[in-house]
Structures are given as C-alpha cells and as structure tokens.
C-alpha cells in the first residue's frame, strides 16, 4: 500500500482538450497506442521549448479511430 509521501505529485497548469472516439476508449490496446501517440506530440512541443502563444490557449488533440494518429487542432479560447 503506498504511503501519502509516495502519492502522485501535481505540477504546473495548462489547458488541453483531447477528443477520443469511443471505439478507441473501449479497446485497451488501441487506447494505450492512441495515448502514446498524443504523448509524442505533446512531448515534441515541450522539448522544442514550446510556443508561448500556444501555451496561453486551449490546445486540442484529435485521435483518428482508424489510424490512431493524432492531429492537433486549434481550439477555441
């Protein structure tokens, strides 16, 4: 049983929306692959230092049900 000290830490804030087709959400294997693909895109932006204008607004990632590829769409503020 984990102790309170080992519990997950919370870090800095951002604003992200992820659009996930239900067929992906219900299939654990597809779900994992899709989230890994999102993580690659989010991570790439972070590694590149990020774009301050992007950081100030909501970012939206859309997962394609067939390919599990992720597209970043510009979402409303």
């Amino acid at each position: 049983m984990p102790t309170a000290k080992e519990r997950p830490r919370k870090a800095a804030a951002t604003s992200i929306r992820l659009t996930l087709p239900i067929s992906v959400a219900r299939d654990l294997e597809k779900f994992q692959q899709a989230l890994a693909n999102v993580a690659v895109i989010v991570g790439a932006v972070h590694l590149a230092g990020g774009d301050k204008s992007l950081r100030s607004r909501t970012r939206e990632f859309v997962i394609d049900a067939a390919s599990l590829k992720v597209k970043e769409a510009v979402a409303e503020q």
Binding site: K10, A11, A13, T14, S15, L20, I22, Q32
Partner: protein, 484 residues
C-alpha cells in the same frame, strides 16, 4: 408429443465460432440463451431483440433450441409478462421446437419492490413448493408457442429432513404441469457429490419418458464442494453414468454440451473434437424403439411442511445478497456451508461485472489502496444494492456508491467520471465531455498499462468522447448478464 430428433449440440456463445466452424459435422444443434439476444432499448425500459446477432446465428444453418436462463419457474413469482413475451418471440425466431427454463427461482417481491437474487436458487421442495412451481410452469407455458421443458437444477444447500427428495420433487412438478424435462446430468451429479440425492436414485424417481434433452458439462472442486462451473470436459465418471442412463430415455431428442466462454482457452481444438465425438457415441446409445406417449400420473402429495415457499424464497434470497434478515430459518440457513458457496459465486460474478465495466476506476482503487480495499468497498456495496441483470446498471450503481462514500483514492472522481462517460457514450451514442483537474494523459496511460500513476500535472483538461460505429461494443454493454 411429436418433437424432432436434433442430436448433439452446443450451448452457443459468440466465442465458440471458430470451434464450431472447425467441427461443423459434429454439431447438429445450437442451444441459444434467448437473453443473449435481448438488448435494452435506448431511453426506454423495454427490451428488443438484437437482429444482427440473430442473423449471425442463422448463418450457421443449424437447428436451434431456446434455453432460457432468466425466467426460472420454480418459485412463487411467475415470470414477468414482458420477459415471457420476449422469450416467446425469440423462440419463434429461432424456430425452437421446445423451450427450456430452470426449475429454480431468482426473483423476490417485498416491501422494497421486486428484486433479483443474482443466482438461480433452489426452490422449496415441499407440497406447497410443488404447487407454486406448477403454477409458474403453467404461467410460462401458456405464453410460449412451443412446449416447455424444466431444467433440473444444481443445489449447494444441504438436504432438509422435511424436503421431498430431489427427483420426486421434479417428477411431481413435471407430471402435474405436464411438461418436459431437461435433465442436466452434471447438475444432478454435482448435487450428489455435494451430499444430496445420488444420481441413480434421482433417475429412478423422475418420469424418464418426459426427458427430451440432456445437458452435460464439466466442473471443478472448490472449498470441499464440486461446482457446476461448466469449466471443461465431462468428467469420465459422469460420462460412464450417462452411457447407462441414455438408453433408458425413450424420448430423448438432444444432448447439449455446456462450456462457459471464459474456459474456452483451456480446451484445445482437438479436446473439443474428442468431447463432441464422445457425445455422438452417447447419442447413438439412445433407445428410440421404446418411444411412448407421455401420460399424466396421479400422485398423492405428502403433507405440507414449514416454512412456506414464500418464506423460503425471501429468506434465501435475502441471505444471498446480504440483506438484513432475522428468523429461525435464516439462523438455520446461515449454518449451511452451501450458502457461503452461493454468495461467493454471486459476488465473484458481480465483481467481474464491475471490474469489466469500470475498468480504469477499479484499477486505480486497486493500485492506490490495494485489491483488498476494492473487495471491502464491493462488500459494502453488496449489502445495500441487490444484483442487476445488466452490467451497465451494476456499474452505474457502484459508481453512485463510490460518489456517495468518497473513498480516499487520488483522482478517483475524474477517472470514475471518465469510465461512466465511456459506458454512457457506448450505450446511447451521445457525445460527452469529461473535465480533469490533472493531466489525464499520464494518468490514463498508467492505468491502461496497469501501473500506479506517478507524476501527474495539475491543470485544466478535458476529454471529449465521441461516438463512432461500435455496434459490438454497444451490444456487449447492453446485453443481459445472468449467472447460472
């Protein structure tokens, strides 16, 4: 009664498809549980028949038998009208020459309403119990387009001194209701192994000319009991007994092998084939030469005994689902080790429904607080919530319980909202948005991989779940789950 000879069959599940196609010449008939074709309508209370699943069944081009598992006819409450209508419709669609249902009970009505026990429970085996069962059999029979056969049930409870013997009880019900018998040899053999009536005595007591169908299955030992778990091949000892019983059944029309889908991976294709070949050898031993017309027998019933069937059903169902229950009968039943077995089977089944539907929430609770804590929460939940036949309802009730009790599990409110939204979108096809106060990406990825979430950033996040074509998934959620 002029029923067709069907031969050797399988209790059908979608997971059987490959086995079935590989052994088609050895399968003469498919036995279908009509409830597996029932779907709950969106935004409505009623049930509908899944036409796509029905069409898939018809593509096998095999005769089909309707074997109901949700309208048992051994109790005082007659089967509900809506469900009887659905059963009748499905049996017509399947062109089933007869319909079978269990000589058990699973529903109780009390001041809290009408509720389910979550398990097919043994009926009261007294004169009043016979009368109640006969009334139930008749009530269902008149709703069906074809004859009804009652299935001989499994009973994990100890025999009671005032009980009619198992075989005699079935004989009285079948004769008085003038119905057929589905002789589940594994059930009766299981009862014998658990210290009830020996199979041989049982066979001597039932009207053999009423046996239209046999069920055979495998089971396994557990805490000193033999369980009717449909977990493998027919035990050789039972197969040997069956070879002596089958020639005594003048009106036998089908032999059906039962195996639950969760055990399919344990049986190889060749073992399955060997099993079917053995059942064909058994089928060849039937004695069609002495076929005779079923005649009603007049039997003088013994004097009635307490408790009444109503009290028996209510007490046993309340104890099964841990409802508060206080009476001399309840005290007596609590001492029966079979009650613990029944409870364990119900709870294992209900637990599996919750874990299957609230997947990530269950994992989060187990990873953060340990599996024993989830079991503790479920045990509390079971004390106040009777079983639900649909997994979605069971999951929704447990989610409400968690929201109300607020157990300390980091991120549980968000993950629970996500799980519930996934279920709801899959079921009704309406888009839903789930807000997260922490980054759902590492959180859900960790849970998906079965890891405890490590570093999760705080922030404003949202997951929008959109519907897409997931007919099979929707079907899996809206299907009725019945333990039997």
């Amino acid at each position: 009664m002029n029923l067709p000879e069907l031969g050797v069959g399988l209790n059908w599940f979608p997971e059987l498809d490959s086995v079935l196609k590989a052994n088609k010449e050895l399968v003469d008939v498919l036995e279908v549980e009509p409830q597996s074709l029932w779907r709950r309508q969106k935004d409505a209370e009623g049930l509908v028949i899944d036409q796509a699943a029905l069409a898939a069944l018809r593509r096998y081009q095999l005769p089909m038998l309707a074997h109901s598992v949700a309208l048992p006819v051994g109790g005082t409450l007659p089967p509900s009208g809506d469900e009887a209508t659905q059963l009748s419709m499905v049996s017509e669609k399947l062109s089933s020459p007869w319909v079978s249902e269990h000589l058990s009970f699973n529903r109780v009505a009390d001041e809290s309403g009408d509720w389910q026990s979550g398990f097919l429970l043994p009926p009261r085996q007294t004169t009043s119990g016979v009368e109640a069962a006969v009334a139930s059999v008749r009530a269902l029979s008149v709703r069906l387009p074809v004859p009804l056969a009652i299935e001989t049930g499994v009973n994990y409870l100890r025999p009671r001194t005032e009980d009619l013997p198992d075989g005699e009880f079935v004989a009285l019900v079948a004769d008085q209701a003038d119905c057929g018998i589905l002789l589940d040899l594994h059930n009766v053999w299981t009862n014998e192994r658990n210290s009830r009536q020996p199979l041989a005595d049982y066979i001597d007591q039932i009207p053999l000319e009423r046996v239209w169908e046999i069920h055979l299955a495998g089971g396994h030992g557990h805490r000193g009991f033999w369980l009717d778990s449909h977990s493998g091949a027919v035990p050789p000892e039972l197969m040997e007994l069956a070879t002596r019983i089958v020639p005594r059944l003048p009106n036998l029309k089908a032999i059906v092998f039962e195996l639950f889908p969760s055990y399919f991976p344990r049986i190889s294709f060749s073992e399955f084939r060997t099993q079917l070949e053995a059942l064909h050898r058994l089928w060849a031993r039937r004695n069609t030469a002495c076929s005779m017309k079923t005649a009603k027998t007049c039997t003088v019933l013994p004097a009635d005994a307490h408790p009444s069937p109503l009290e028996w059903e209510r007490t046993l169902a309340e104890l099964t689902v841990h409802k508060p229950c206080s009476s001399p009968l309840a005290d007596e039943m609590r001492k029966d080790p079979g009650l613990a077995i029944i409870r364990e089977m119900v709870e294992k089944f209900r637990g599996s429904m919750v874990v299957r539907t609230l997947r990530l929430s269950s994992r989060l609770i187990m990873l953060e607080r340990g599996p024993a804590y989830l079991e503790q929460l479920l045990a509390e939940f079971w004390k106040t919530h009777p079983p639900q036949p649909f997994a979605f309802d069971e999951a929704s009730a447990f989610a409400s319980f968690l929201r109300e009790h607020k157990p300390y599990v980091p991120f549980l409110p968000e993950v629970l909202a996500y799980d519930c939204a996934v279920l709801a979108v899959a079921l009704d096809g309406e888009e839903r948005c789930v807000p997260f106060g922490a980054d759902p990406l590492p959180l859900l990825r960790a849970l998906g991989a079965g890891r405890r979430p490590a570093e999760v950033a705080k922030g404003t996040y949202e997951i929008r779940l959109t519907p897409d074509l997931v007919e099979a998934e929707t079907r899996a959620l809206s299907v009725m789950d019945v333990i039997h």
